[in-house]
């Protein structure tokens, strides 16, 4: 009797991978083809709804232009995310340092989150100018809440036994934070960064809508005013790609850090 299990296994894995990637890809390609077909068949003008081929052509012709604006938006999002990480984590540490302070601080954090931050965009332009600062502040405001809340959760996740152990060995507070509490909280902090990554891009683009000289939000607004719809769609595609790249980089950093600090 031949033992053909490994072959079957390889076939099964290959099939599962193909269905995991292949099916979504097939759906996307089918939708694009349908879009292309209907636009051509119904003679839809390009300023209303351009065909995917027209969008692709716009992207190809203006690639350096798109890349420049995408870079500006990503930089704004990155600066905003960095500030949100710094202040979110610091706020969470301050709140966690004093027992019971969560009860007063958490409603405040929820109140901040309840403000439609997008509505603050014009004010940010007024206060911080049309440059990078206003966009970064906007992105930071959107990211601050998930960062702070996730860090608080992480700092609470340290087992009581570990806290007892630190007390037994009389570990100084800062050392305890550095060598035990932070590694326990790290998966939660990184989850906060992951959630915030996509919000940072949204924050930056919305702030660019309110007033900017460059960036994908600026590009979308300018192209809309000129009724250059293929360019608008190209900018939207570029924004999606930039968001994926931004999010993917954060995931990569998260996975590397988690591999180093946790082995669960």
């Amino acid at each position: 009797m031949s033992y053909n299990m490994p072959d079957n296994f390889i076939v099964k894995v290959a099939r599962s991978q193909a269905s995991r990637i292949g099916i979504p890809l097939l759906v996307i390609v089918s939708l694009l083809l349908m879009w292309e077909f209907f636009v051509r068949a119904l003679n839809v003008p390009a300023y209303v709804l351009p065909a995917p081929s027209v969008i692709l052509s716009a992207l190809h012709q203006n690639l350096p232009y798109y890349l420049h604006h995408a870079w500006v938006t990503m930089l704004e999002a990155l600066v905003g995310l960095s500030f949100a990480c710094l202040f979110g984590v610091l706020a969470a540490i301050c709140i966690s340092l004093k027992a019971g302070s969560e009860r007063t601080a958490l409603p405040l954090l929820v109140a901040i989150q309840a403000i439609p931050i997008v509505a603050l965009a014009p004010l940010m332009i007024l206060w911080f100018g049309p440059g990078l600062s206003s966009k970064a502040v906007m992105a930071a405001l959107l990211c601050f809440f998930p960062m702070a809340l996730n860090t608080i959760k992480g700092l609470r996740a340290v087992p009581v036994g570990a806290i007892d152990l630190l007390a037994i060995y009389h570990v100084p507070r800062f050392t305890a934070f550095r060598v035990v509490i932070l590694p326990y909280a790290l998966p939660f902090v990184l989850a906060g960064v992951r959630i915030s990554a996509s919000m940072a891009m949204i924050g930056a683009i919305v702030a660019e809508y309110a007033g900017a000289n460059e960036g994908l939000g600026y590009l979308i607004m300018q192209s809309t005013y000129r009724v250059d719809t293929p360019l608008v769609f190209g900018a939207i595609v570029m924004a999606a790609l930039a968001s994926w790249l931004f999010y993917g980089s954060i995931i990569l950093i998260e996975n590397t850090a988690l591999r180093r600090f946790t082995h669960n």
């Binding site: 087992p159 037994i168 009389h170 570990v171 082995h263 669960n264």
Partner: protein
Amino acid sequence: MISNNGKQVSALRLNNVSHNYTVEQTGETLRALDNISITIAPGEIVSIVGPSGCGKSTLIRVAAGLISPTIGTASVNDSSPESARRAHSISLVAQEPILFPWLTVAENLAFPLRIIGRFETNLVERMVDFVLLRNYARLFPSQLSGGMRSRVALARALITEPAILLLDEPFGALDELTSLTLCKELLRLWSSSSPATVLVTHNVTQAVFLSHRVLVFSQRPGKIVEEVETTFGEKRDDSLLSTPEFVAKVAHVRSLLT
């Protein structure tokens, strides 16, 4: 144990200790421990058995200085438990072996040594060999069985050679066979530095097998119902478990609990 000047030498002493808890939701005050007085000599193992909620773990926390008793005093080597902690004279092993998941077995063992500034590679390697984990030294806790994790936690508690070893149901989460194996392992490890040891356990056989004395606690508030001496000498192995004296002692302690 009596010192040369006639004074009783104690590694751990609790004098008329009572401890109250306040229930946060209702504000009600509950007495966990009631007028407990214990003296444990250096090199002595004392077990505490009793029903759930009788304050056994509270007693461990008082002895470790993690909480202060409401009434009475606790002292370790004639100073406060807080001073003893500062002098790194106390070690604690809890029911759930707290090993840091991002550190290897060897790094977990080295943790207290690094903290107290006495890290030596040789010391860690010796301990790794002593607990028979040479082949597992580079593994992470998640890659170990429950029994191995408990053994690492025990070895980590002993690596600093503490004066007092506090064990709060250290093998409570393990099956009976693994638990018995670890009891023998505990005696082997303990004999290297023989710290005064307090063992809190639900397992009467384990308590009688390991200890010089067994303190039987009442329902809450925990009081000492009886102090049972065991007189089996220092050498304790599997053969002891089936002797009539051992079986009778276990039966006696059980009868006090029911």
